[in-house]
Amino acid sequence: MTAEITKPSTAPLEWEYATSREATDILDLEDKYGLFIDGEFVKPKSKSYFPSINPATEETIAEVAEAGEADVDAAVSAARRAHTEVWGPMPGAERAKHIFRIARMIQERGRELAVLETLDGGKPIKEARDVDIPLVAGHFFYYAGWADKLEYAFPGIRPESLGVAGQVIPWNFPMLMLAWKVAPALAAGNTVVLKPAETTPLTALLLASIATEAGLPPGVLNVVTGAGKTGAAVVSHEDVDKVAFTGSTAVGKLIQSQLAGTDKKLTLELGGKAAHVIFEDAPLDQAIEGVINGIFFNQGHVCCAGSRLLVQENIHDRFVDKLKRRLATLRVGDPLDKNTDVGAINSRAQLDKINELVESGQSEGAEMFQPDCVLPDRGFFFKPTLFTNVAQSHRIAQEEIFGPVLSILSFRTPEEAVEKANNTPYGLSAGVWTSKGSRILWMADQMKAGVVWANTYNKFDPASPFGGYKESGFGREGGRHGLLPYLKWSES
C-alpha cells in the first residue's frame, strides 16, 4: 500500500544538523617528514619525497620521505643492533613498562591521533575517535600485559624472540594495523621495521615520535615510508627474520613466493568477500544496522567487510526496502564533521577501482541503487551503493571491491546459504543473523571464515584473534594467538 503522509497542523521541523567540524589546530604538523630510523628522524639517502594528501580535499598535508634500499638497510641494521644489545636481553617486565607507557600516551594524545588519521586517510572522525584510536590503545595495553608472561602464554615451552620483524601495513586502518603488528612484536621482544601505506604514513610517524617521548630505546621501532618498492625492500631484506603483511591477496602471493626458500617466518592478512547471512527470523531492524555497519564502516575499506549480503528469499524484498530507506539517512561528506557517517575514499586509485567494478556490476545486469545524496565537489567520494539481482558469477559478487558497495543475493535454505557463503577463494569473515541459537552454532561450524559474527558485525577486541582461511591469509593477530608469529621456542 502506498501510504500518504497526513498533513500536520504544526509544520514539521526539517532538521538539518549544522556542521560540527572537529578542529585541526591540535595538530602540529611539519611540512616535510624524514624516515624514523634508530630513534630519530633522518633525511632519506634516496633524497626522494612524495606528498601525502587529504583525500577529502586533495590538498597536500606534508611531504614524506621515500625510503630506498639503502634507507631500509639502515633501518634493519638499527633494528638488529637494538635487538641484540637492548630489547632482546631486556627483562619482559621492563619491556612491558615501555609498551604500557606508549599505550597511555596514545590515550592522552588520542584526539590528535584521531584528527590526523581522519585528515590523512578520509575516515569519519567519529570512527577514528570512537573505534580506531581506543582499539589502538587497547592493543598496546593488552600486549604490554603479555610481555613478562610469555612463559605462561604457552605452557611447556621456552619462548624466545625472533629478531627483526619487517611489517607492511595497509591504508584502511593505519594506526590499528600498526598496533596489531607492532604491539605483539615488541611484547615478544622483537624489534620492528614498519612500512606504512604510501597514502597514510602520517600517524605512524606521529606514533614514532610518541614512542621516542615515551623513552623507547632507539632502533626498537623504525618507520620507513614509501610505496610498493620500499615494502619490497623491507620484506626481501636478508636480515629480516619475520615478515608480517596486511593488504591485497595479489601482493600477499607475491611476498610468499619471494620468501620461498628462506627461513623467514610469514603471516599474511589479505582480502575478503565476506558473506553476511540474514535469516527470516532475524531481528530485522538490528540486522539492518549490522549490514550498514558491515559494509559502510570506513567507506567499506575493510578487509572483513560484509560485502555479500545473503537474504532469505521470503524476507528479501522487505529487507531490501528497509535497507534502501536506511541508506538514505547516511550522512556522506566531510570526514572531519562529527556527524559524518561515510567519509572520503582513500585515494584516486581506489575510487577508480570502485567505479570500474560498479560499472561492471551494471553492465553484467545487476540492479543498482544509490540514495539521493550530494557529494562534496572536491575530494574522493562515492555514494553508498546497493546491488540487487546479483548473480554469484558477477564480478561484484566475486571480487573484493573495498568500497561502499553491497551486493545482495538471496537464498532459500540454510544449506544454500552456506554453499553460497563458502563459494569464494576468500575466507576472512562472515556474519549470521537469526534468533535461533542452534542455527548460529551450525552456521559458524559450516562457514569457512576466520571470524564469524552472530547478530552483530565488525566487532574487534585486543583479546580476540583475527585472521583468515584460504586466500585471505594465514596467521592470527590479536589475543594470545597474536604472540605466536613473533616467537620461536625450545622445550623447557
Binding site: M1, S9, P12, W15, A18, T19, P283, D285, G290, T329
Partner: protein, 317 residues
Amino acid sequence: MTLASQRSSILPDRITTPTLRSFLGGVPSVDDVGAAERVAALSTRSIKRESKLDALMMMIRMMDLTTLEGQDTAGKVAQMSAKAIRPDPLDPDVPSTAAVCVYPNMVKYAVQATEGTSVKVASVATYFPSGLADTDLKVEETSRVVNEGADEVDMVIDRGAFLAGEYFKVFDEIRRVKDASGEAHLKVILETGELGNLDNVRRASMLAMAAGADFIKTSTGKIQPAATLPVTLIMLEAIRDFFEATGVMVGMKPAGGIRTSKDAMKYLVVLNETLGTPWMTPDWFRFGASSLLNDVLMQIRWVKTGRYWSADYFTKD
C-alpha cells in the same frame, strides 16, 4: 477507505486471542544489544548553533507539560497552565507547549486555564497508573474526561493481561476506550518498564496501533525505568512498520525521566533518523515531562545570549 479499516487491514478476519497471538508472532524480534548500540551511536550526534535552537524550540512545541501528583490542586494546575501558555515571559520567541497533562479530576481546571489558547488538555484515564479496574469503569472514566473537555486521553494498557497472553482483552479494551474517546486523541501507555523486554514492547506497540491508538506512549512515569532511548527506538520502528503496512500514521510519546534538553535532543535525533521529517511535529511526537521545560528554557537563553543564567531566573511552577 476509513482510517479504522486501514488499521484493521493488517489484522486477522476474526479477532480472538489465538489469532492475535499469531499476528504478534509475525512481528520481527528485537536484539537488545543491537538496539542499545544503535541509540548509543545516534547519541554521539553533535547538534550545534541554529540546528540546536530549532530543536530546543520544537521540544517546547512538543511538550505535554505534566503534573500527576496526589497533591495536585486547582491552583497548581492553573499555574502550570500559565507556564505552558507562556513558558518564558521574557522571550516572545518561545512557543507554548503542546498540552498540559493532568489527572481526571483536574481536567476542568486545566480547560478553564487554557481556554482560548493553543494549549491542549490531556487527561490520563482508565484508572491511571495501574489500570487495574473493570473495562466498563475505564470506559466510563474516559467518557467523563472527554465530556469535561479533554482534547487528549492518555490511557494505560492492562499489562497483567498482556503479559499473561490475553491479547484479546488488551485489544478490546483499547478499542472500547478509543470509541469512548470520540474526537479526542487517544495515547496508549504501554508502561514499558513492566513489559520485561523489547520484544514485548514491539508487540504491544503493534497491538495498540491496530486497536486504534493515535499515539503510543512509553510510560506512566510512576514505574522505573520510564522512557529510555532503546524502548523509544523500538516503538518508532514499530510505528514505521505499521505505517508501511496500513498507511496510518501513529504518534509517539516518550514520558518520564527526560529531564534535560541534552537527553531530549537524543530523542529528537532518534526520531529524525528513524521516522524522519514527517514526524518532526507535535502532531506526531510529544515529550511527557514535568521538569524538562526549565532546562530547555535555560538552554535557549544560553544559545541566544552566550551566557548561562542561574536557575533563579526561571519560574518554578
